[in-house]
Amino acid sequence: MTPGFDLNEDDQDIVTEVINIGVGRAAAALSRMIGEEVRMVAPSTEILSRPAAAALLGNLTNDKIMGVRQEFVGPLTGVAALVFPEKRSLEIVRAVVGSDYPIEDITELEQETLLEIGNILLNNCLGTISNIFQARSTASLPVLVQGTAEELFCRDTEDQAGDGMVLFLHIGFSVRSRDVTGYLTFILDLATAEKFIGFIHAYLETAQKGGGI
């Protein structure tokens, strides 16, 4: 662990609250796209090694994954991803494009639709979090990831000490009528996590003065 990095109970509480607000906006966007309520599970925050984070996500999805990954620079600097179990990802696409669309056309559309869903959800979430901190985020173009959770987190990260510890945030959400559970995940290496905690502390100070946002 990076010397000086600390995530005490109060920090964790604020991180959870901020992530909840971001994910709440993303869920509202998804809910509008599919015309159905989206259920959210409380977010989890853990400090883990990259492989352990991948193993955790692998256990949650219990399958190979299909997802959209984007790199962000801002209050949250790192990798954000929207992830579904591979076998269920088509269901979410179907929920968005509508049931009366011919199945062969949907398969063709699947990747582009997933990319767009990921782009909208991840930007809603990260954009809202940036607004809370009155800061700005920039995002790379969304990239489709298909395979194992290890591939999602460990690919292209050799230059960032691939086996180092990371701050791993994840939150599950489900669409009942489609029986799909997806995950929004964020992975921050500890140096950028410290920067995020700096934003958290400043936000706490504002809140203590009764300033709201």
Partner: protein, 119 residues
């Protein structure tokens, strides 16, 4: 303005602190109570009425809308607002159907002040 009472119900300590700081800043004389979940909030309301309840939606145990329904039966005169990050249209509509307010997180201090200042 007369001294009033506000019950803040949220599982996040930070959210409770943030809301109570806004209330204290605008209404320094008011009495602020806190509860970390719906069960504790209903227990507090059973003992004493309050003027306002600020109620989170996603909490361990029962969700805010279920809790609000029970509060309505227990204390029909308390004015309730759902204060939540869950800003889906379905949740907003359910809050309106129940006749309670809706304040999205992150909370704008002015929006909360208006809810508490309304006659």
């Amino acid at each position: 303005m007369a001294q009033k009472t506000v019950l803040i119900v949220d599982d996040s300590k930070f959210a409770r602190l943030s809301l109570s700081s806004i209330v204290a800043r605008h209404f320094p004389d008011w009495i602020i109570g806190e509860a970390a979940n719906g069960a504790a909030a209903l227990c507090a309301l059973g003992e004493a009425a309050v003027d306002f309840v600020l109620l989170d939606f996603n909490m361990p145990g029962e969700d805010g809308l279920t809790v609000a329904q029970k509060m309505r039966e227990l204390r029909p005169d308390s004015r309730i607002a759902l204060v939540t990050a869950n800003v889906q249209d379905a949740i907003v509509q359910q809050a309106h159907a129940l006749g309670i307010g809706f304040i999205p997180k992150p909370v704008e201090a002015e929006m909360l002040r208006q809810f508490l200042a309304a006659p």
